[in-house]
Amino acid sequence: MSNQKRILLVEDDPDIRAMITAFLAPTDCEVTETDNVDVAMRELANGRSFDLAILDFWLGNIHTVAIMDAIQSKVREVPIIIISGGNGSMDLERTEAISDVSGAVMFLQKPFRKADLLAAVASAIR
């Protein structure tokens, strides 16, 4: 039985998505990536199981709180890491607080380093 961890990555910036995927490559995790809330919600609704979710808080002007709620409603606990560089309408202090309220285990302020991400992932799925 494979012990490979499955990660759901939701990020709308293709460069950052590619960077995160590259950062995660040495961890041998299987990464399902999307830039879209609906696609992520479909993945979860279809019963796809993940060991970790890495979500950009803002996809344009749409927040990913609905994805956090969908993950929290699962019987199996799936840790959530939120990444954000902010958005014109909401500062990061508030963004982090909303993430914490919504069950995130970690908040990374963009831009972050490879070491920061890998440490957060290791801590979340240990």
């Binding site: 927040h63 709180v65 560089g85 902010g86 309408s89 909401m90 500062d91 990061l92 202090e93 508030r94 607080a97 909303i98 309220v101 919504s102 302020q109 920061d116």
Partner: protein, 145 residues
């Protein structure tokens, strides 16, 4: 009539919320730590040292550097934080909590407020959490400035 009563209840609940928040901050003295300064102390307590620079703190709080620099200067004058030239870049300073800063943060009004909420029945706590989250999502503009 029903609408009037509902409006009155809503306004009264906001009055209570405002009093709850105001009462947790010891603002009777002008020397009291201000909400922005508390936010900075909290940031410093849980952020890696290399991110404890004015530019990162300002980005986190959604502010320009000027008010953050002023708040840090006030905290430094009260020996709650200290600033050091960065090892990697002599043009920047990193900010760290002093021993007194760490001790002061143990009396963070936010933590004390959370303690007051924690004694409520679980269902009330959950409703409170969901309500403030909805408020924050619907009204997310910056408020420190």
């Amino acid at each position: 009539m029903k609408q009037e009563v509902d409006d009155k209840r809503l306004i009264a609940s906001v009055v209570l919320l405002e009093r709850f928040v105001r009462d947790i901050y010891p603002t009777k003295h002008s020397s009291a730590i201000q909400p922005l300064q508390w936010s900075i102390l909290r940031y410093l307590a849980r952020t890696p040292a290399d991110r404890c620079e004015v530019r990162w703190i300002a980005q986190f709080l959604g502010l320009t550097r000027a008010p953050v620099t002023r708040a840090i200067a006030t905290l430094e004058s009260r020996d709650l934080v200290k600033q050091q030239i960065s090892d990697e870049d002599a043009r920047t300073k990193t900010v760290t909590l002093t021993t007194l800063g760490v001790k002061t943060l143990a009396e963070d009004p936010i933590v004390l407020a959370a303690e007051r909420i924690r004694i409520l029945p679980k269902i009330d706590q959950e409703q409170f959490v969901r309500s403030v989250r909805s408020l924050a999502l619907n009204y997310g503009s910056n408020s420190h400035e």
